[in-house]
């Protein structure tokens, strides 16, 4: 019966595994930080969006106000005689 196990060259494998751990430490640290960068960008995007949305809201209100004032001024300007006396 063929028993499992029996790494053919245990010492070499051990050294390779050790090197692998170290390499992977570097890789995972880089990849994690790239992901953090991504995360940041995503979050930045979403908060910026909501900030822009609230700015947009204020502008909307102002725009409507301005429109109203424009109409008022328009009515006044079409009858200048009323304001000359």
């Amino acid at each position: 019966m063929a028993r499992a196990g029996g790494i053919t060259n245990a010492v070499n494998v051990g050294i390779a595994v050790q090197a692998d751990w170290e390499n992977r430490e570097f890789i995972s640290s880089i990849s994690l930080n790239v992901r953090r960068l991504f995360d940041f960008l995503v979050q930045f995007e979403s908060t910026t969006k909501s900030k822009l949305a609230s700015l947009n809201e204020k502008l909307d209100l102002l725009e409507r106000r301005l429109e109203m004032l424009e109409v008022q001024v328009g009515t006044a300007a079409s009858n200048p005689s009323l304001f000359n006396s």
Binding site: M1, A2, R3, A4, G5, G6, I7, T8, N9, A10, V13, G14, A16, V17, Q18, W21, E22, R24, E25, S28, S29, I30, S31, L32, N33, V34, R35, R36, L37, F38, D39, F40, V42, Q43, F44, S46, T47, K49, S50, A53, S54, N56, E57, K58, D60, L61, R64, R65, M68, V71, Q72, V73, T75, A76, N79, L82
Partner: protein, 1284 residues
């Protein structure tokens, strides 16, 4: 200059990323840089590096994984297959000749679809062959290769599952053989002129057999498996593995659990295909264990809308596998539809989420708190520079535990939803609640299993659970990058602890003597130990330990945030499996439950724990992938099977479960659930993701997209309606009198249940199918529109009612204003005044009328003045009982929406009953409303209109009065006393022969009445304005430094000085200049200048004149023209008694005739008291008051009557026949006299007649100076330019 990566990334956290939007949706953005460790075949390519002679196994593994992937694509093709035949056109008779063309076209269309089916057929043949070959390799009595590894077992099971599913789909889809037979028919038509069609025909026959045979794939697999060699060994291993994994239920997430459940019945059937086999199987696995598993899960979810039932599968397969039919115990398991009632109820209790929701809620709350606290600890740890290492490990370890717990919770919850769905599909609703409108409608099957199968409570529980899953999912997803290094570190520490400490001690003690096992153990150390992480230890120790020399103290590891690779985990699991199984597939008993093993129980336990931990590591390494799988609820939308069986293209959205949930939230207005209203939309997100990525079908995505668009529109409009109604009823209940409500028995129903819209109102980003929607701005937009619509509605409503409704209008506008105020705390909407002005068409700077003002004026002119009569005592105008002269055409009342009034029905009726109090008359309250509503801008316009009305009336009266004057006799003197009352009356009747001029007379009376009404209105307005002004004065006086003097004069408190407001801000400005630390002193000087301006403006406003006096002056000016006609100077210079045709004569005549008429008819209130007001005012302004009092007919008669009653008392007694009427007449005359004198005294007070210099008023309203009037109103006091 280079910056370390960590520092650069850490610097990003200095950005402020605050956001006031709550997390009201599930996780939306997935970033995963790693290929999933659990499902990617690439991960196993480096297995060979560990030199475990697993290359054969790895090759097979890769092959199986590729097959699984292909198989999944095949299943999605089959699942999403929709019948083409239904869409085929029928040729009309006129085009029969092109039948052949149609056949060709049809053939080409169908050929494409059928080629896919052919592909599936070919694929399943090769897949079965490969799987069978793979299995046979491990069934040889002496195996030559290492394996199978645990991963390999899983791959076999998964491929098995795919094949079974495919088979199942093929069986369930009736449209496929249908389409195929059509295809074949067209083929025979088309291929008639083709050559060499035999091979194709053969192929077609093959395909037909494949498609029409039930369980064709499974049968084929069975043949393949048992062709050369028996595979029962490996089958038994698989069954044991599945049963043990299911029983332990530790490392299984729900997708895996479902795979095992689906495969197990089929495996059992295959493994018991001979008696010997079944005996050996049941030796290893007791039959009861299998039956228990089948009984525990009578329904297994397989596809979104199709479930499997182990009992049914076993029963059906027994026909095809005759040997299996001997297993009677397995065959007598009841299928779901034949469960006895009691058992069904037990299952029902188990499957329905509603029975578990309380426990789930508690779990959720508890977990969310603990997870957050672990996260905070981790953040704290990261912010510290030199944290204690042990503490750091503890914190990270607890984070790891929380993540494991979170995954298990999510898996449990999501599988609950899957299983509830499967249960519901297996038990359709028996009798849908009868709708009152159409009971005859037949419900489709899908409606029976979904729409009517979830009661309100169940929907609520489902919404709750969905939002728990999604919120925990997003909570975990958000801290992905935060926790991942902590997780890696913990896993690393666990693995190292096991291989360096546990294994070391095992090697030293238990397995010292056993060569085989100790070799495997040391292999395990070799392939995963990270010795260098042990930097603290001296070099020598490192050397020794590497050679496995004993060491007494436990090793301590320095953390390294690197997780083992999937290949390492794979190898470790393999080796552990080798140890416990001894490499013998035929070993009786289970995996770890083996008592006859050579391994002591204690070590076995340790190995077992580590073994299962390893399999969970992979899920944790796939952090975001796992969360995505576990929170994926997209299956709730799919309904391909029911679409096919119902023969419709798509179901209406009322049948769509996600929409049902959204609808439930909106309709039932549960305050707690409202914040989860967006959660069900995540289901759409998930299902569209599935449609694109897993099922790869564009048309499904299009259908989902269309439904989402539609649903979201409805959702927003319903939500806005709810919000609007809520704020309206909130405002309406605020405006009810609180103390009154308190005293009321049923006051409770007017109070409002509070709702929490804040979270939804703050949502600026709703993620929907990859789009971002600004919900907040949508709501704001709709709110602006609703408010405008509401104002419009109120005006429409007012325009359809009479003037008395003005009080109600004001009240409704107040409610609207208050609700705008309340709502604008949460969301930015237009100011109320802006909206009101816009809707009133009142924004022009130079126009002073408005929609409301002109409506009020029109109403007065057309309805109020002609049809209302004054009652002097009550100071009210009421509608005349007589039918109106001119029936006014009014727009019909606009259809009422409850939320355009006060919100709810109860509040509506409450406010309605209040409004009713004011709907029958016009008086002071109405005047108040008018003043407040049209404001200082349009009020002058209304006044002008009313005053013009007076002068117009006077003008129009002129000719009629002239006619009456002509009709008077040449001379009519004083009434003689001789004839008594009766004689006098007769005399008057003779003299005033206006009989032919009745119409003229009433016309004149009406004119006078209208003038009187207007004047009385002015009186009311005067009173109201006084009050308003007084309040205003009280508010401004302290700021302006005004104090009342002794005689009612207004005095300046500090002579010559500034008013308090100016002084205050001046001193503030002065102080700010001298104060050093203040930056913007200019601001204070601006404020002080503005204060001076305000001071001037408000002071100028103080002494407004009386409206009534002004109106009288205008009336007098209007009468001025007719002074000569109506008040002719006597030629003789004496008072003209007999021939005078002055106005007072006319009015006197009119009055007495009117009185007589009133007495004769019962209709008293024809004209009301305003006639007296109009007539007397004109008389007074013409200076004829004394004449009138002297010569008035009724006065004279009263005098006569007085004299009569004094001398002849019996006259009343014998004149009983007409004495009654007479007495009443006399009484009326007395009343009229009283009224007249009241009016005169009022006029004397408000407008004393003086002979002095005065102003007249031109038609345009401008005053005319220095005109001498005799006996005219002293208008001087009242004119606006006084003091100028």
């Amino acid at each position: 200059m280079s910056v370390p990566v960590e520092e650069a990334i850490a610097a990003l956290s200095t950005f402020s990323l605050e956001d006031d939007q709550a997390e009201v949706q599930g996780p939306g953005v997935w970033i995963s840089t790693e290929r999933g460790a659990t499902n990617s075949p690439i991960e196993y390519t480096d297995v060979s590096a560990y030199r475990l002679s697993l290359s054969e196994d790895t090759k097979a593994l890769t092959q199986l994984n590729a097959l699984i992937q292909e198989g999944k694509d095949m299943t999605s093709v089959l699942y999403t297959y929709r019948s083409c035949v239904k869409a085929l056109p029928q040729l009309p008779d006129s085009m029969k000749h092109s039948q052949a063309d149609l056949y060709l076209e049809t053939y080409q269309v169908l050929d494409l679809e059928m080629s896919r089916l052919r592909e599936i057929q070919r694929w399943q043949v090769s897949a079965s062959a490969k799987l069978a070959a793979d299995m046979q390799r491990f069934s040889r009595p002496e195996r030559r290769i290492n394996g199978p590894t645990v991963t390999h077992l899983w791959s076999m099971l998964k491929l098995f599952d795919v094949l079974v599913q495919l088979d199942h789909l093929k069986n369930a889809k009736a449209s496929i053989p249908n389409d195929f037979s059509w295809y074949k028919r067209t083929f025979t038509q088309v291929s008639a002129q083709w050559q060499d069609t035999d091979t194709v025909r053969e192929e077609l026959d093959d395909l037909q057999i494949f498609l029409s045979t039930r369980w064709a794939i499974l049968l084929h697999l069975h043949v393949e498996m048992f062709r050369v060699n028996n595979v029962e060994d490996i089958l038994q291993v698989l069954i044991v593995f599945a049963v043990e994994s299911l029983e332990l239920d530790f490392a299984l997430l729900f997708p895996e659990r479902h795979i095992l459940l689906r495969v197990l019945p089929v495996l059992t059937v295959l493994a018991t295909s001979s008696e010997k086999d079944s005996e050996s199987l049941f030796k290893r696995v007791k039959l009861n264990r299998l039956i228990n598993i089948f009984k525990n899960d009578p329904v297994i979810p397989a596809f979104p809308d199709l479930h499997l039932s182990p009992a049914a599968i076993l029963k059906e397969l027994s026909i095809y596998f005759p040997k299996f039919s001997a297993q009677t115990r397995l065959l007598t398991l009841p299928a779901t539809h034949e469960l006895p009632t009691r058992e069904a109820q037990d299952y029902q209790r188990h499957y329905l989420i509603i029975n578990h929701i309380a426990a789930i809620r508690a779990e959720h709350d508890d977990f969310a708190i603990r997870f957050a606290s672990s996260k905070n600890q981790l953040l704290l740890l990261k912010s510290m520079d030199d944290a204690d290492i042990e503490w750091a490990q503890e914190v990270k370890g607890s984070m790891y535990d929380m993540v494991v717990e979170g995954f298990q919770l999510l898996s449990r919850w999501t599988s609950r939803i899957w299983e509830q769905c499967a249960w519901k599909f297996s038990r359709p609703c028996k009798d849908p609640f009868p709708t009152e409108s159409d009971t005859s409608t037949l419900y489709s099957d899908y409606e029976k299993v979904v729409r009517y199968n979830y009661g309100p409570d169940e929907r609520k529980a489902l919404v709750e659970l969905v939002s728990y899953i999604k919120s925990i999912g997003s909570l975990m997803q958000l801290c992905d990058t935060l926790v991942s290094d902590a997780l890696w570190e913990t896993i690393h520490a666990e693995v190292q602890d096991f291989v360096q400490n546990t294994l070391a001690s095992m090697l030293r003690t238990t397995f010292r003597k056993k060569k085989d096992i100790s070799r495997i153990l040391s292999d395990m150390r070799t392939l995963s130990a990270d010795w260098m992480a042990n930097t603290s230890r001296p070099e020598s120790e490192l050397q020794t330990s590497q050679h496995g020399v004993e060491e007494n103290k436990e090793n301590f590891f320095y953390p390294r945030p690197v997780a083992p690779t999937a290949a390492q985990v794979h190898c470790l699991q393999f080796l552990i499996y080798e140890i416990v199984s001894g490499g013998n597939l035929r070993k009786p008993g289970g995996l770890f439950g083996n008592t006859s093993s050579e391994i002591p129980i204690n070590e076995l336990k340790q190995l077992e724990t580590f073994f299962y931990k390893l399999s969970f590591f992979l899920h944790i390494l796939d952090y975001s992938e796992t969360i995505a799988t576990l929170t994926d609820l997209g299956f709730l939308w799919f309904r391909e099977f029911y679409l096919e069986s119902s023969r419709v293209i798509q179901f209406p959205i009322e049948c769509s479960l996600p929409w049902m949930l959204v609808d439930y939230i909106i309709e039932y207005q549960n305050a707690g659930l409202l914040e989860s209203a967006l959660m069900p939309f995540d289901i759409y997100n998930d299902s569209s993701q599935q449609a694109l990525v897993i099922l790869k079908q564009r048309f499904l995505y299009d259908e989902i997209e269309a439904e989402v668009d539609h649903c979201f529109d409805i959702f927003v409009s319903k939500l806005c309606e709810t919000i609007f109604t809520h704020y309206k009823s909130w405002a309406a209940s605020e405006l009810l009198d609180a103390s009154f409500l308190f005293a009321l028995d049923n006051g409770q129903k007017f109070s409002l249940q509070s709702m929490r819209f804040t979270a939804l109102l703050k949502t600026t980003r709703v993620k929907l199918l990859g789009r971002t929607i600004n919900l907040r701005s949508l709501i704001a937009e709709r709110m602006n529109k609703s408010f405008r619509d509401n104002i419009e509605f109120l005006f429409d409503r007012f325009e359809s009612q009479d003037l008395c409704a003005i009080v109600e209008l004001e009240r409704q506008l107040n409610i609207l204003q208050l609700s705008q105020e309340l709502l604008s705390k949460d969301i930015r909407i237009d100011s109320f005044s802006l909206m009101l002005n816009e809707m009133q068409e009142n924004i022009s700077l130079i126009s002073y009328s408005s929609r409301l003002a002109s409506q009020i004026w029109a109403e007065m002119q057309n309805d109020f003045l002609p049809n209302f009569v004054l009652c002097n005592t009550t100071q009210r105008f009421v509608r005349s009982l007589k039918a109106p002269l001119s029936s006014v055409q009014k727009p019909s009342v606009p259809t009422t929406k409850a939320n355009f009034l006060c919100g709810t029905e109860d509040l509506n009726s409450a406010h309605q009953s209040f409004a009713q109090l004011h709907s029958g008359f016009f008086g002071i309250p109405h005047m108040f409303s008018i003043v407040r509503l049209i404001g200082s801008k349009s009020l002058p316009w209304l006044l002008r209109a009313l005053l013009d009305h007076i002068s117009n009336k006077v003008n129009s009266l002129e000719s009629m009065i002239a006619a009456l004057q002509d009709a008077l006799p040449k001379s009519n003197g004083l009434l003689p006393f001789d004839g008594g009352v009766a004689g006098c009356l007769r005399l008057i009747k003779e003299q005033l022969n206006w009989g032919s001029k009745t119409e003229l007379r009433t016309e004149v009376l009406r004119g006078i009445k209208e003038i009187g009404s207007v004047l009385y209105l002015m009186g009311l307005l005067d009173i109201v304005l006084r009050q308003v002004d007084t309040v205003h004065f009280m508010q401004t006086a302290p700021w302006l430094g005004l104090v009342p003097g002794a005689d009612g004069q207004i005095l300046q408190s500090q002579e010559g000085g500034d008013s308090p407001i100016v002084t205050l801000f001046k001193s503030a400005a002065a102080a700010s200049v001298s104060a050093p630390g203040l930056s913007n002193s200019a601001l204070f000087s601006t404020i002080s200048k503005q204060a001076e301006a305000a001071d001037l403006l408000y002071k100028a406003n103080l002494n407004s004149g009386s409206v009534l006096e002004y109106a009288l002056a205008v009336t007098s000016a209007a009468l001025d023209k007719y002074c000569s006609k109506w008040s002719a100077a006597p030629k003789t210079g004496f008072i003209d008694i007999t021939t005078s045709k002055d106005f007072y004569r006319i009015f006197s005549g009119l009055q007495i005739e009117n009185l007589q008429e009133q007495v004769q008819s019962t209709n008293h209130e024809v004209l009301g008291d305003s006639v007296a007001w109009g007539g007397c005012t004109i008389i007074y302004l013409l200076g004829q008051q004394l004449h009138f009092e002297l010569f008035d007919f009724s006065c004279q008669i009263l005098n006569v009557a007085e004299a009569e009653s004094a001398s002849i008392i019996h006259a009343q007694k014998n004149a009983s026949s007409q004495g009654g009427g007479l007495a009443i007449l006399l009484e009326a005359m007395k009343k009229a006299r009283r009224l007249n004198s009241h009016v005169f005294s009022m006029l004397k007070a408000r407008c004393p007649l003086e002979d002095k210099q005065a102003c007249a008023i031109k038609q345009s309203g401008a005053p005319l100076h220095r005109i001498k009037f005799e006996n005219t109103v002293s208008a001087f006091e009242t004119l606006p330019q006084k003091g100028a």
